[in-house]
Amino acid sequence: MIGVVLALLIVPLAAGITCAILPTRTVRAAAAVTVAAGIGCFALVLGVVPATAHRDLSYLGYLRVDAVSAIFLLATGFLYAAVAVYAVGYVKRHEELYARRFYAGLNLFAWAMLAAPLMSSLALLWIAVEVTTIISALLVAIEDTDGAAEAAWKYVLIASAGLSLALLGTVFAYYAGSQVLGEHYNLAIQPLIAAGPHLAATPVRLAFLLALLGYGTKVGLFPVHTWLPDAHSEAPTPVSALLSGSLLAVSFYAILRFYQVAVATLGTGFPRDALLAFGVASLLLAALYVFGQRDIKRLLAYSSVEHMGILAIGVSFGAPVALAGVMLHVLAHAAAKGNAFMGAGVLVMKFGSKQISAIRGGLDLLPWSGPLFLLAVFALSAMPPSGIFRSEFQIVYGGFGSGNYAAAAVLIVLVTVAFFGLSASATRMLFTPAPLRARPTLSRGEPSAWMVIPVIAGVAVLFILGLHPPAELTGLISRAVAQLGATR
């Protein structure tokens, strides 16, 4: 198994370097390498996951995979494969230099996101998340427009400042840990959780809050979400899909690790209250901002803030069924948001604009992507039978079951508000017929088959998660829930 875990670290890195150093006029080779690496990594993840449903894997002192990290690996692995295929169609229209840089960046970005959940120590986890920031900021800037430069600057400034706070949180975690585990403590996560009851309360509380605020910046929690809509809307669409479906989740994973330590030391009260406050605020902001959005990618970006808020609220409920919902939500959101962004990318390419007002009659003009985008929006709005329906249902059920009536009710109301905002815009883009003067220039048809296939795979995943999750997955989720310290 160690070979598989190491391959997971080496394959995307090697693919990224290969794409960067390939000689000129080899865009096809770079595309082939990226697709092979993406699908290969997903296969590797599927190879690791079944083992983690029964035991934790630990290698070389620095690598560790348990059920919680396996869930996040699955989300990133699937989206990396989907986006790698999609990118082939997306990059076709761009010049060669752009394409090679893009493929190199995409692979390295996926590499950093796959590395983060594999790290056994809080310091290495921080470094991995920092690497995701660097690479994704450069990928946001790659379009070389005014908007992209502005978004990249805001992103790197705000996210780096946030991660600095997370680094301080990591320092306090070390401070707390070294008091009990000795000066040579190396910030490994498991020993810290095990020593939880003996840690000093104040440094742990401080570490948790700083990590929540710091990594929360990358998750997109209110009020430190401000970079997110800009970066998501200006990045190339495949990168937007990875940012939203995978990067936000990986940052949330970092918060979960601090949450585990905080619960072991402080009990459940304080960490859950903090998560609930951030979660409800994010959900409220996102539900309101989804209304009246004029830019299709910003619309989806705010929907990501909404779903991250739901994750935070779900963890704050603490009931096993709610935590199981959170784990399922990570997977379902990756598939649904990836699909939505990939569909939006096709719409943007077809109509040549990100403005919702410029996109009309999508269902007529795009025989595949139109209906698939509609399905993705319905999935994001938690319509059955998508996986998000199941996961949000579990979270709400857990909320009522654990006595958090007010929070669960607020969750239902705000998710419904967001549903109206999202579906109103989607309806306008898909069902309102295109104005007559635009018709002759736009012919019916898909820009590229490469941009449809991964979306179909995403729909399949959403249906499987919603209708009948495989037994291996439910086993994995129950183990993850136990590791997160669920209590009734």
């Binding site: 990249a152 600057w153 400034l157 400042a161 320092v171 040579h184 440094p203 910003r298």
Partner: protein, 233 residues
């Protein structure tokens, strides 16, 4: 950790040095807040970074931690030499190309007096709220830790009150200095892995910020952030 109940002992060389260095660093940060020219801010930043390296050397000598010497040397190379050099080159290029050196001077949103007053409020808030947490430890000088918290808030202020990308980057670097100070005093025996994280943070700041500042300058022909207002809502 022993809590507030312990009787404070007379400060040793290390605690005294840490507190003095922290206080001087905070003063320098106020200098950065007050300074009109980004070039002078860079100079002050280099001085502040030099103090961090001095503190690391003091701790290394006091506690016999040889790897801290390496950290001090690397940190000095990056923060006292490399980062200011990169920033000064970017500023020089911007100054040479422009008709009027926008972005290099006069990008404050507040008058120097108001900025410093706001800084004092931030610093006081950080100092007293952190001091009130009661993290007291013979190994961790509480005053220096509270000053580090004050410096962090002032660094955020530094990022907010300027409207040019170079000053915002300097604000971020000052934030990084504040966190290095907090880390050095709270956890002097930083494990190697955490030191790596710090060096990494710096490298990112210098490389990515440098690249984006250059891109911004090429595109906007100034370092001002006044036109970075397209993306809203």
């Amino acid at each position: 950790m022993s809590l507030a109940s312990t009787v404070p002992a007379a400060p040793g060389v290390y605690v005294g040095a840490a507190n003095v260095i922290a206080a001087v660093m905070l003063l320098i940060e106020f200098g950065m807040l007050r300074q009109a020219l980004a070039r002078d801010q860079v100079r002050l930043y280099a001085a502040q970074s030099a103090l961090i390296s001095v503190l690391a050397i003091v701790i290394a000598a006091d506690r016999n931690l040889p790897d801290l010497y390496v950290l001090a040397a690397l940190s000095a190379a990056l923060k006292v030499v490399a980062a200011p050099l990169v920033l000064r080159r970017l500023l020089g290029r911007a100054g040479a190309d422009d008709e009027e050196p926008t972005g290099v001077a006069g990008s404050q949103t507040l008058s120097p007096a108001s900025a410093v007053l706001a800084g004092i409020v931030l610093a006081a808030f950080g100092f007293f709220s952190f001091g009130g947490l009661g993290i007291r430890d013979p190994a961790a000088p509480a005053t220096a830790l509270a000053i580090a918290a004050a410096m962090m808030l002032v660094a955020f202020g530094l990022m907010i009150v300027r409207r040019d990308v170079a000053s915002q980057a300097i604000g971020f670097l000052a934030l990084e200095n504040a966190i290095s100070l907090a880390a050095l005093v709270a956890a002097a025996g930083l494990p190697l892995i955490l030191e790596t994280a710090f060096l990494f943070d710096l490298l990112v700041a210098v490389v990515v910020f440098g690249m984006l500042i250059r891109a911004h300058h090429v595109r906007a022909e100034s370092l001002s952030t006044a036109d970075l207002t397209r993306l809203q809502g």
